[in-house]
């Protein structure tokens, strides 16, 4: 491992820009990028961080950019659509930010092979929209699917609402086209649904947050649209009762396509910000989607499970209402304008949901921080929100220490329950400080050696994920 110190000086970048323009064309190299490129949806680079934005049009352009970066020892920060929540795409000083947003071709849709071949810049929801006329869909659906790119989804092994039934991104990727740090093109995986030739580089690249290679395209598995869908709303008096409902589903034979838990704080937040009336006097809801064959039988088993746990069940017959409920769930918890908010992403073994909700409340009280959470309850993934109102003595651009302290306690609580510090958002820069709490030293050591095997000079997304 050789560490190369990026110089980050403007003149170096100017020189690099000229060379990149010669190879990639004028419009692919942007020296004064739009401010949105200074970070992702949650984390920004320090003001004044010098970087060069490169937006190739194709894989060959990505190769050219990486060859030049490699030759000049320039760090490279791969970037999808910038919807990340952990800082994975935040520019490093003196780096090339290598945006994949112009690689937007859906190269192929093949229902007979149940695959699509898509470029990294394709927006997740656009793929499913393109598949729908064929009677297919792409299963992984982060709540940000209308913003996030498939390349970004692959970089973070993105999850979403339908993962307990259909798996996370990892389970839907069969093969990758990627570019190594020196510009070499790498093809991994297979188009057949099975294949066990060699070490699985596809799986190793998924979730590696741009630290091993730059993914330019993927062969993904697609699935037939379910013959039917049904939304069920279950109301509970407490989060503990709702968690008991989740446990009751686990012991039943039915597996919903989505099981979203929204606690009282979340419901109040959504209602306040959107004018909806979700809360309707109850503490917690489970918003559930059933899909596939035999919906009446499925509904009967689900109802038996939830009623036994104290739930009050309503089948949402009206499709427009069902659509609206899911939209409310996906669109977050409102603006949060005027206050401090930190969205977290932890996961616990799913039987421990009640405990993590209890811990969340206690942590909030201990630090004087407002807490609420929405959970992909079917897979134990939780997105708590830690919030404080704005105060006069706030340091601009900084979250109050109490929020940081609460987040720290929360991450540790998830680990104590056998969980993980990140369910689906990734580590990026935001969670690196907690890595050692989860990963043992042999694991860390191995991961760094794997990094060296791909990127010996640590040019790819330095300071992220590992």
């Amino acid at each position: 491992m050789t560490a190369i110190a990026p110089t980050g000086s403007t003149s170096d970048l100017d020189d690099l820009a000229a060379r990149l323009r010669a190879q990639l064309g004028e419009d692919a190299v942007i020296t004064a990028p739009d401010p949105r490129y200074t970070g992702d949806a949650a984390v920004r680079a320090p003001e004044g961080t010098a970087f060069l934005l490169v937006l190739p049009r194709d894989t060959a352009g990505v190769q050219a950019a990486l060859r030049l970066a490699h030759e000049t020892g320039t760090p490279v920060v791969p970037r999808g659509s910038g919807s990340g929540l952990s800082g994975g795409a935040v520019p490093t000083p003196g780096a090339i930010v290598l945006g994949l947003e112009r690689l937007t071709a859906i190269r192929e849709i093949d229902p007979l092979d149940e695959v699509a071949v898509v470029e990294a810049g394709v927006i997740t929801a656009d793929l499913s929209a393109a598949l729908a006329p064929h009677g297919f869909f792409y299963a992984p659906d982060p709540a940000s699917a209308t913003l996030s790119s498939l390349g970004g989804n692959i970089a973070t092994n993105a999850g979403g609402l339908h993962c307990a039934k259909y798996g996370v991104t990892r389970e839907s990727v069969l093969a990758l086209e990627a570019v190594l740090v020196d510009g070499t093109l790498l093809r991994t995986g297979h188009r057949s649904l099975k294949g066990v030739t060699g070490l699985d580089l596809t799986q190793l690249l998924i979730g590696s947050e741009g630290t091993l290679a730059v993914v330019t395209a993927a062969t993904v598995r697609i699935r037939p649209l379910p013959v039917a869908r049904r939304t069920v709303l279950a109301r509970f008096a407490t989060t503990a009762e709702a968690a008991a409902g989740v446990n009751a589903i686990s012991l039943s034979p039915v597996r919903p396509a989505a099981t979203e838990l929204l606690d009282g704080g979340t419901l109040a937040d959504i209602d306040e910000n959107t004018g909806s009336t979700l809360a309707d006097g109850t503490s917690t809801i489970l918003l559930i989607e059933l899909d596939g064959y035999g919906l009446d039988e499925q509904t009967a088993d689900l109802t038996a499970a939830l009623t036994g746990a104290g739930g009050e069940i309503r089948i949402v017959e009206d499709e427009a209402e069902a659509e609206h409920l899911w939209e409310l769930r996906r669109s977050g918890r409102g603006s949060g304008a005027g206050g401090h908010r930190l969205g977290e992403d932890i996961a616990v073994p799913k039987s421990r949901l009640a405990e993590i909700f209890t811990a969340l409340t206690e942590i909030g009280e201990r630090h004087g921080v407002e807490t609420s959470a929405v959970s992909h309850a079917g897979d134990g993934n939780l997105h708590p929100l830690l919030a404080l109102p704005a105060r006069e003595d706030d340091v601009p651009g900084q979250l109050p220490q109490a929020i940081h302290d609460a987040a720290d306690d929360l991450v540790r609580a998830a680990l104590d329950l056998g969980g993980t510090i990140s369910g689906e958002h990734g580590i990026g820069t935001a969670k690196r400080g907690w890595l050692d709490l989860e990963l043992s030293s042999p694991s860390r050591d191995l991961q760094l050696r794997l990094k060296d095997a791909f990127d010996p000079h640590h040019l790819l997304n330095p300071g992220k994920a590992l």
Copy 2:
């Protein structure tokens, strides 16, 4: 990378045996092992290959054995139950064969978390048997499930009959306990269904055929038993029509739990060896299992798809008959006594099934070799059988060259159709010669660097897989 030449001398092994006995106990070290340990279910070591069989009782014993092997530069061949078909567990001269067969504890079954924690030596079918009283099952089911071990399944990323719907082994493993080459204990993954912390060592170890570490236990995902199952038998006039039936299923919304294609040669083989009457005058059958909710609706969609492709459909109402049909499918094609047989394992994109069957017939004719095949048609995985009757001039213990030549043509045909040289059996020693046909040189190069990162002296399963 430092290659250490194993000495393989008997006196070295005697000395090592004494040291291992002191640490692991007398009965854990076997100097004159039963002949079955000289290979797996398909490949044997050359006669007289000297090796030491070590059968630890627990993870600590595996650590101790690896520490000593590492210290003495002794190669280690990890071994599950020996049911492999690609030579992955064949002893290397002078090696320790490290058998995991005594690590048979099912440490935990937790329906609420939908996980089980199992040791590497647990027989695959035993896990599902243990889960059944809880209303759960373990989805990956290689046809050898009553013989194969979970550790072996993980080493080869084993497939089976239910993978198109439920995924291969990879999709059911959440976390691993493994021992590194120097005896260090490594824990990877998470118990929550989601988790994206760091590079995914779990996924990298799955399918690595014992070349990176020795897996001692796994946290696997378990699933609720389907509320109902139904077997459907579809008869077709040709393999091409049956393949068209598979395509028709792909375009329908129904996804069977298993879709097995048995060609005429296979049917004749089974009938001849078991006294069954599967063939019944037809050329090809699809043996299909539907499961879950809404079986009548599923059956209607399936029937429409298959009838359109020329299939003659029969719902197997009698449970005992259905069970018997699946047993016939799983138990292989009879004894094969008195002749030469090579069982292959290739996969193609599933729309190319008709073409690979055509290629198989042509290849058989070209080389004068009898061919037949059974296929996990739902995922494009094919197990052709290449056979020749015994002849007087046969070289004992050697397959006729015509079979080797036919296998070579077949593997190349699979690759030409966009497929892979191994769908689910692994590379082992049997398929190493074809690796370069499938893997590009950047991919091979990276895989060797990853090997070095785990096992710099190449002590773990040398000469296999990579």
